[in-house]
């Protein structure tokens, strides 16, 4: 099973985060339609994997969304959409959906995040009466996502990262902190950019 249970530091123990990465997804338009139609069975965060540079990058966005969830200050209807906008260093929500979420006929690799946590009864919708298990989530995902599951490793993320987009979205072009690092030191530059990306996520709204 390629569904990973993410262990994120300092997240409440009754909050479980599951994630999977699918390559060459054929039915992105269908998946997006479910989100737009607010189909309760599709309460996932769907992320365009090309904007993700590493696990740490992803964790930063998830952590931020979980933190707003536990604080009760979600900015969007649910924690899953907050994960998507959590990737953004800016406050423009619809732009964030466009940039980090799914775009039919453009998105190829899809990253799926599912957060399971005890909900208040007032939030109860049809499917929350019983908590989904990793098995049932995986079952549901593989039934509806037409793509090839791959493990969520930094290597896999690196394969699909679109650096031009990342540099633009996180305003990393011509930044002295990156430019001063030797061009040959790719690993050093990548690390520095990751630091700036994570800071950008952490500082949104300040």
């Amino acid at each position: 099973m390629a569904l990973e249970t993410l262990q994120i530091e300092h997240v409440p123990s009754d909050h479980h985060v599951y994630a999977a990465l699918f390559r060459d997804v054929q039915n992105v338009d269908f998946l997006q339609a479910q989100l737009i139609g607010k189909n309760p069975e599709f309460e996932y965060a769907f992320i365009d994997a090309s904007v993700i540079i590493s696990r740490t990058h992803l964790f930063a966005a998830i952590f931020r969304a979980l933190n707003t969830l536990t604080e009760g200050t979600l900015q969007t209807p649910n924690v899953h959409s907050d994960i998507v906008i959590g990737l953004s260093p800016t406050n423009n929500i619809s732009e964030s959906y466009r940039r980090y979420g799914l775009t039919p006929s453009k998105t190829r690799d899809v990253l799926v995040i599912k957060v399971v946590y005890p909900k208040l009864s007032s939030e109860n919708s049809a499917i929350t009466s019983e908590q989904p298990t990793p098995e049932s989530i995986w079952q549901h995902l593989t039934t509806h996502i037409q793509g090839t599951p791959v493990p969520l490793t930094n290597e896999e993320f690196a394969k699909s990262t679109d650096w031009a987009k990342v540099r633009k979205y996180y305003k990393l072009n011509g930044v002295p902190g990156v430019e001063r690092i030797d061009k040959a030191d790719e690993e050093g530059r990548r690390k520095e950019m990751e630091g700036l990306v994570v800071s950008g996520i952490a500082l949104r709204g300040l």
Partner: protein, 302 residues
């Protein structure tokens, strides 16, 4: 009480050496003299350790995102003597400002810790853990190995202090970079600078090197190697004025003289390097003369 018994007690909050923090036996958790901030009550791979307590907040070492990413989490607890609304607002504004300054420095290439996460309203900020030791500790280690006899010291000074002079120059350059971005630190001391070892993933401590049989001379030469990383921007400010920059240098000068009296004469190297790495350095140093004459308090005019 002190979670890092190997490091001497300090008055300021700052990060202790990574080597001096015992990697938290479960017993340590129960010994916390303060309740943990709520964010740290959630599970993590290793329990957080209290590194130091300052006037404004507490510094914990913990991990962030995943167990292999160490981080420093600074928590400003609510102050019971302040009106709750005012307290919340001040805490939030100060942490938000600190986070913004750190990000700005980082983008400009000034060596500071990266921000991992923050919740200014809840009073915490998590930043990158800087390996190594405070510059203060390193300089004292270095000075401790020098001859104590004053005459000897003077004769040996010129050749022997080379590595320390180099370090002073690197500090000067780091401060120049900070000031160039329009930030003044507000509390520059050798405790608020870390010396981060160059080598990637080499976390061998001096003690382990000794046991490995590395010669004392080689070890001494390595003692002051590394990048100077400025930490603790809790009192930082945005300013482009020579006055504020000179005050920054003055505070460091005074702190340096009292922390490292035996190296006081080397401070000029720091200033010289500051002047060379910063276009406006000369005028700041000129201002420093004035500040020395009257102390760090600003003039009452205006």
């Amino acid at each position: 009480m002190d979670p890092s018994p190997q490091s001497p007690p300090t008055k300021k909050r700052k990060m202790a050496t990574s080597t001096s923090t015992s990697t938290a036996a479960p017993a340590v958790v129960e010994e916390h003299q303060f309740p943990l901030p709520p964010i740290l009550t959630h599970p993590s791979a290793a329990p957080p350790t209290l590194i130091t307590q300052g006037a404004e907040g507490r510094l914990y070492k913990t991990t962030f995102f995943s167990p292999d990413i160490p981080c420093a989490l600074k928590y400003r607890p609510p102050k019971p003597y302040r009106h709750p609304v005012l307290d919340a607002r001040l805490t939030k504004a100060r942490l938000a400002f600190e986070a913004k300054v750190l990000e700005r420095c980082r983008r400009e290439g000034v060596p500071v810790p990266a921000v991992y996460a923050q919740n200014a309203a809840a009073g915490w900020i998590a930043v990158e853990w800087i390996e190594g030791a405070p510059v203060r500790v390193k300089i004292n280690e270095w000075l401790g190995q020098r001859p104590k006899n004053e005459e000897e010291e003077r004769s040996a000074a010129e050749q022997d202090q080379g590595p320390l002079i180099e370090l002073m120059k690197r500090i000067g350059a780091a401060i120049a970079g900070l000031h160039r971005t329009g930030v003044v630190h507000g509390d520059l001391t050798t405790s608020n600078m870390m010396l981060r070892p160059h080598t990637k993933k080499t976390t061998t401590t001096t003690t382990s090197e000794q046991t490995n049989g590395v010669s004392k001379e080689e070890e001494n030469a390595k003692l002051l190697e590394g990048d100077v990383v400025i930490i603790d921007f809790g009192l930082a400010n945005q300013s482009q004025s020579d006055e504020d920059r000179a005050t920054d240098l003055y505070v460091l000068e005074r702190a340096f003289a009292s922390t490292h009296p035996r190296a006081e004469n080397l401070f000029e190297h720091l200033l010289e390097s500051y002047k060379q790495s910063f276009k406006k350095g000369a005028s700041v140093l000129h201002k420093l003369e004035d500040v020395r004459m009257r102390g760090r308090k600003r003039s009452m005019i205006g």
